[in-house]
Amino acid sequence: MSLSKQHELHTRRYGRNVGVGLLLAGVIAIIFGLTVVKVTNEDFTTPSAQTVSQ
């Protein structure tokens, strides 16, 4: 027996799956946002080309 489109498991765990999905999307948004804020911060310095080549 395989999972049908409307398997009972889907309906039973719908709320839980949506919750986990939103949570993951939130984590991605936060990490992305933090990266943007940190990189655009005045204190942020990129490694110089010389350092990279060494």
Partner: protein, 315 residues
């Protein structure tokens, strides 16, 4: 038959956890106190940070607080099942297993500490890690079942969030952040002892050595009054420091008069009087204690905001 069908049959019981059950592990009501006091600590600090980093910092502090709540529920599942107040929590209700709560608590603890460190500074992250350790290991595993001073010392765990908020902005500790810590620390005993007075059977049944169980109810009433007097002195004195000001001082004086009045009434009563009105005074005092803390931190927030806008009178 696929693995999925076996799984669905073996787990198809009415007690399957919903997303809300997992969220309930994080003690959302306690989290509101953590969020609010950490937010005040962050805004009261002299130097500002980027609003998005500030938002993330409060979120990670809240997640850390929630994680310690989940670990508390994992360890205290046996007590929670006995106490009426906690019987509906996800583990005693059979919605979530202890192992799941432990895994969620540990994962969120690590996540919150690491991300707070990456987003802000490692001092604040270390303070958050210590707070989780203190609440779970020192309070939950050690003090709670061992000494009637459990909530006096354990109350420190709930008092750390404003210090963490302050550390997020400043990277350190100062007199002001210690004062905010002391305010919550001194508030916790009268708040919980009032609860213990009117939820009297709960702690007896669970065999938790609350003051009401070990030293009696008369002694608890005396303790509430003594701690409330000490708290009032501290709360009003804080009004003369840099976190205070005329608005804070006015709020503190009014609230502490009300709180002292409540504590005095509790002290005057005996068990017959309390039974007669179903612990009305104790219940009112407990409700007032919630307003008391929120209003004090709210007043600190107002003073900090006015000061940053250049309208601070005492700063």
């Amino acid at each position: 038959m696929t693995d999925a069908s076996i799984y669905s049959q073996s787990n198809a019981h009415p007690n399957e956890a919903s997303f809300g059950d997992y969220f309930a592990l994080l003690k959302p009501r306690v989290m509101t106190l953590v969020v609010f006091t950490a937010f005040v600590g962050l805004l009261a600090a002299p130097n500002g940070i980027h609003p998005f980093i500030g938002f993330c910092a409060i979120l990670f502090i809240a997640i850390g607080g929630g994680a310690s709540g989940a670990l508390n529920m994992w360890w205290d599942a046996d007590i929670d099942a006995v106490m009426k107040r906690t019987q509906k929590r996800p583990i005693p209700a059979g919605q979530v297993t202890g192992d799941e709560a432990f895994a969620i608590g540990m994962a969120l603890s690590a996540f919150s500490v690491v991300f707070l460190g990456l987003a802000t500074n490692w001092f604040a992250a270390g303070l958050l890690a210590f707070t989780i350790f203190f609440y779970v290991v020192v309070y939950t595993m050690w003090l709670k079942r061992w000494t009637p001073q459990n909530i006096v010392i354990g109350g420190a765990a709930g008092a750390f969030p404003p210090m963490i908020g302050w550390a997020v902005a400043t990277g350190g500790v100062s007199v002001e952040s210690v004062l905010m810590f002391c305010l919550t620390f001194m508030w916790t005993p009268p708040h919980f002892w009032a609860l213990a007075l009117f939820m009297r059977k709960d702690y007896d049944n669970a065999d938790v050595p609350m003051l009401t169980v070990t030293h009696g109810r008369r002694s608890t009433r005396i303790h509430i009054l003594v701690y409330t007097i000490l708290l009032a002195v501290l709360a009003i004195a804080a009004g003369f420091t840099s976190i205070g000001g005329p608005i804070y001082l006015t709020a503190a004086i009014i609230l502490n008069i009300l709180f002292l009045h409540g504590a005095f009434q509790i002290w005057r009563r005996d068990e017959d009087m309390a039974e007669a009105d179903n612990f009305l005074v104790e219940r009112k005092f407990f409700k007032l204690s919630l307003l008391y803390l929120f209003a004090h931190f709210g007043a600190i927030l107002v003073e900090a905001t006015l000061s940053k806008l250049g309208w601070g009178i005492w700063a």
